[in-house]
Structure formats: C-alpha cells, structure tokens
C-alpha cells in the first residue's frame, strides 16, 4: 500500500509499504478514505519531538471503512462500518479510561517503559507520533491497523459526511477541550493564540460555550479572516501590540481565559527577542520548546484566570515566569485530548447544525501529493490552513 513515511528532518516520502495485518484479537484494519495533516505533524516534520525512526508512517487524523476485524470484537465493530480513527488508542478498561482520562490510558502504549522514563508515567498509545507513544504506524496511508479497535473507534452516523466527521479524530475535540477547560462564563473574554486548525476549532468552541468576546491572535491575514468569520476579534501581532490591544479590549484587566494553540514552535521574530533567544537555544539542544506564547499569556491573563494549553510542548522550556503565574493565582489546564470524552456531544452538535467543522479545509489532494502538501502547509503557502488527503 501507499503511505506517507518519515525519513528524517523535513523528509516525508510517499512510499510503498507492506500492508498492515491483524495482530491481536481486538485489532481492526481500516481502509482510510480521508486523512489530514495536523499542525503537530509539523513538529515531527521538523524533528523537534524525539524518538522518530526512519520508516515511521505519519498521521493521526483519519476516517475510513472497517475491512477486517479480529476475533475479539464480539460484535462491537463490524466489517463495512464507517469509523473515525481518533489519534489516541484506548483500552476502555484501565483506571484512567474509566475516569474518562483517555489520553493517559495505562495499557495501550506498547513502549510504556520509554514513556515512563521520559514522562514519569505512560501516556496512551498514539498513531504516528513517535516511539515514545508506542511507535504505532500512522494513518496517512491507504490502510491502518487499529489496535483496541472495539474501544478506540468512533462510529460515524450516516448524516455526517467524511469532511464533517474527519476532524472528530483530533482538532475538533482538541479545540473543544481547550475551551471547556476554560470554564467559560457569559462575561468572559477568551484570548486564543494561534489561528491554525486547532485555534479555529477553539474559537468556534468558545463561541458555542458562550464567551462574551473571543480574541484571535495570529499574523497571517487568511487565518485571521477565518477567525473573524466566526465573530472573533482579530489581532495581528506583527501590526499591533498583543498586550496593549488585549488590555484595551478588557478595560485594562486582561482576558479571564487564555488558550495557547501554538505550542512549541512560536513564530521567531526580531521584534520578539525572546523568540530569537529560544530558537538559538533550541538549535543547540539547550531547550526543547519556544514558549513565547506561554510567557505572554501569563503576563496578560487576568489574576485568578485560566490558561489552557492544547498546543504541543515536547520537553524543557526556559524562562517561563512561574512566579508571575503563582502570584496571580492562575490555573493551568493542559494535555493531549481525551477525544472519546467529547465525541458524542460533538457529533450531536454537528448533526444539529450548530457547527460544521469542514469550514477549515483549504486544500484537498491525493495521498501521493502528501510530501508536497507537507511543504505547502509548513511554508503557509497558498493560504494553506488545513490539508485533507484522499485515498
């Protein structure tokens, strides 16, 4: 079969690879009909997240059809069913899964020993996201083996098209969780840094959850126009002061809720000297992440506010003003998304017509065009915000 394979920094190829096989009774093979390139795939593209190996298949957002099931399915998943493959693999039985903390499932990471050394505890197994999270082959392929498929899959109602349902795999529940983590109240201002795909979903979620005003921060006019379309107030950080404008919008008090949809690769600019400092340290492996957004959020967030972090950070961050955060009494909420905690609600909202996540798709291509699409998305060319690849 064809698959997008990581061969090294900035080197993704559309390779011919061997077909996946059923290995365990709870496995299923899914024929991928659509998959997407996620912003967090770019961290792997840039080799900023450790533990990738040449030959690893990329991708963790997919929808498709079940073509084969293992013997342990007991009727919970059948051939021919249309399913979303979420990025987290879950057993549905461990203590964390039973608490709804699916992204830290205790059983599905088959490289648990590595994760425990790096993170202290294991996280769930993830598709196509390094050997720290199980080294599972990703979904940017014609077929994918879904381990623990009876609990990992999300069934797609016929009323939803592929393009509407695809983002239940990651970016929609990720943006949603980020907004839910903010405990949004009717008078709240929610400031969202980064208007990429997750940022766009977080903006829509904050509006659905009733924020008084939502502020979207980016530097690209196409992304800001998409944010503005949903009622957000745009701030172009290359044209105006983020802190000054946020204070203006909140009578000098700062936003109650801040969401970081940027993560470890903040834009580097000489007008923000800390980003140059971070980039230099990152290059010489003295720091993993560029936490400019975290610093700015901690500074501007209203005391006793909430900082929600769906953006991916990989390791050590320098010069994060924890003293400021502590003295202002800020609450931090973060983590990989507990996808299955939110999918029932989100499917319901899409069916009700409250939200149509397909608005974010700007580019569609075939799987064989994947390497070029990675480059286009990374370079933000042709106003690319979200790429969907069709098999």
């Amino acid at each position: 079969m064809k698959a997008l394979v990581w061969h090294g920094k900035e080197d993704i190829r559309c390779d011919t690879v061997s077909d996946p096989e059923i290995l365990e009774p709870r496995d299923a093979i899914v024929k991928v009909t659509s998959c997407a390139i996620c912003g967090s795939d770019l961290h792997l593209f840039h080799n900023f997240v450790p533990a990738m190996m040449p030959g690893d298949i990329m991708g963790h957002e997919a929808i498709g059809e079940v073509v084969e099931v293992g013997s342990g399915m007991n009727g919970r998943l059948r051939k021919g069913e249309r399913v979303v493959v979420p990025f987290t693999i879950i057993c549905g039985e461990c203590e964390q899964c039973l608490r709804g903390n699916f992204s830290v499932c205790e059983r599905t990471n088959r490289n648990k020993h590595l994760a425990e050394k790096v993170f202290g505890h294991t996280t769930a197994g993830l598709f196509g996201y390094t050997h720290l999270t199980g080294g599972y082959p990703g979904v940017q392929a014609e077929y994918v083996r879904v381990p623990f498929a009876d609990t990992t899959h999300v069934k797609v109602p016929d009323s939803l098209s592929d393009d509407q349902a695809l983002f239940l795999s990651d970016i929609l529940p990720t943006g949603w969780q980020a907004a839910v983590h903010c405990d949004i109240e009717p008078n709240d201002t929610v400031a969202i840094w980064g208007c990429g795909p997750v940022g766009q979903m977080a903006i829509r979620s904050a509006i659905l959850l009733g924020a008084r005003q939502v502020v979207a921060i980016d530097r690209l006019s196409d992304r800001l126009s998409m944010a503005e379309a949903s009622g957000a107030i745009p701030i172009n950080f290359e044209q105006e002061s983020v802190i000054g404008r946020l204070l203006d919008l909140t009578e000098g008090k700062g936003p109650e809720k801040c969401i970081d949809c940027v993560g470890m690769e903040s834009h580097v600019s000489f007008s923000q000297p800390d980003t140059v400092y971070d980039r230099a340290k990152q290059m010489f492996m003295l720091e993993n992440d560029r936490p400019h957004v975290l610093r700015e959020m901690i500074y501007v967030c209203r005391p006793a506010g909430i900082i929600s972090v769906p953006g991916v950070y990989s390791g050590f961050s320098d010069k994060v003003p924890l003293g400021m955060a502590m003295n202002k009494g800020l609450t931090f909420r973060m983590g990989q998304t507990h996808v299955h905690r939110w999918t029932d609600d989100l499917i319901h909202h899409i069916e009700e017509g409250l939200l149509d996540p397909s608005f974010v798709i700007t580019h569609m291509a075939g799987l064989e065009d994947g390497p070029e699409m990675y480059r286009l998305f990374r370079d933000k060319q042709d106003s690319c915000i979200k790429v969907v690849l069709k098999s």
Binding site: T16, G55, M283, E372, D379
Partner: protein, 185 residues
Amino acid sequence: MALTYVSNLLRHEGDPHVIETGPSSLSSLDRMARLLGWFSVGLGLMELVAPGRVTRALGIEGSERFVQACGLREIGSGLLCLSVDKELGLWSRVAGDALDLTSLLPPMTGDNPQRDNAQLAAMIVAGITLLDVLTAKGLRQQHKEGDGMRRDYSTRSGFPQGLAKAKGAVRALRQPMQGRDLRVH
C-alpha cells in the same frame, strides 16, 4: 534508505515496513543546503582539530588560533544549515566566505611560497560563495509565504445556522463519560 533498513529491523513485528521509497518533500535546494551544512561542519572540525595543516598549506604559520576561530564559525554555520533555518545558515556562510576571502588576500601576494595554494583556496571559496548565494536565494523563493497574495476566508464561519444562533448555544455540557465502561455500547 540504509537507516530505514536498520529501523525496520527494530520495528514491532507485523508493523508495515518500507518496500519501495517514493518522492521526497525535500527539494534539490534543501538537499544542497544540507550538503553545504555537512561540508561546513567537516571543514570546521578540521580547522578546529588540525589548524597547523591549514596554516602550513597556506603559508600563514602562527595564525592557528585564527583558523580555529574560523572553524568554530564554520561549525555554527553548518549547524544552522542543517536546521530548519537553513537559509539563515547559508547567509551566515556567505558572510563567513567573505571573511575567508579577505583573510586569503595577504597570503596570495608577496613572497609567500604557498601563494599558489592560497590562490587556489580563494578560487574554491569564491565558487562555493556563489553556490551559497544561489542556494540561499533559491530557498527564499521556494519557501516564501507569498505575502500579499493571501486569501480571504471571511465567509467561512463554521456555523451553518449563523453566528447569532451559535453564540452560547452550548452552555450546559452533558457529563463526560467518566466511569462509563466503553465496552458496553
């Protein structure tokens, strides 16, 4: 492909492995930048470890510290070329090339017995400078974001029933699936 072969040996049994490799996201310019980066690192290491060989070949004995400093600079430029900021790395190489050419002027003239070597070195540096400039310019063109030609997505609200209906439509969340046994659908 060799690394892929090794990693396939370490892969979990039954996982797909590469049979035939396809076209890459790396362009020829990206590869050239990478090649120049490794060249820089190699040259830098040589200057750092064996500065005497360089000074003898160029007839500038006594300048070993200077050559080692150039070596450090080369390694820095090389690492930049190998990073995602390769264009910056290439321009730093161009600046370094200019410094090298300036430093080669004195040994190319006068009664230096190694002036032929110095002239040859200057010609090589000049050639590589041209390559650095062309690669850097090509990369800038290839990876530029296309400012001024950005699309307007202001009709994409994502709310089929309109913003007014969407605002605050989902205030009361249902309880998350805490405690729910997922095996019972």
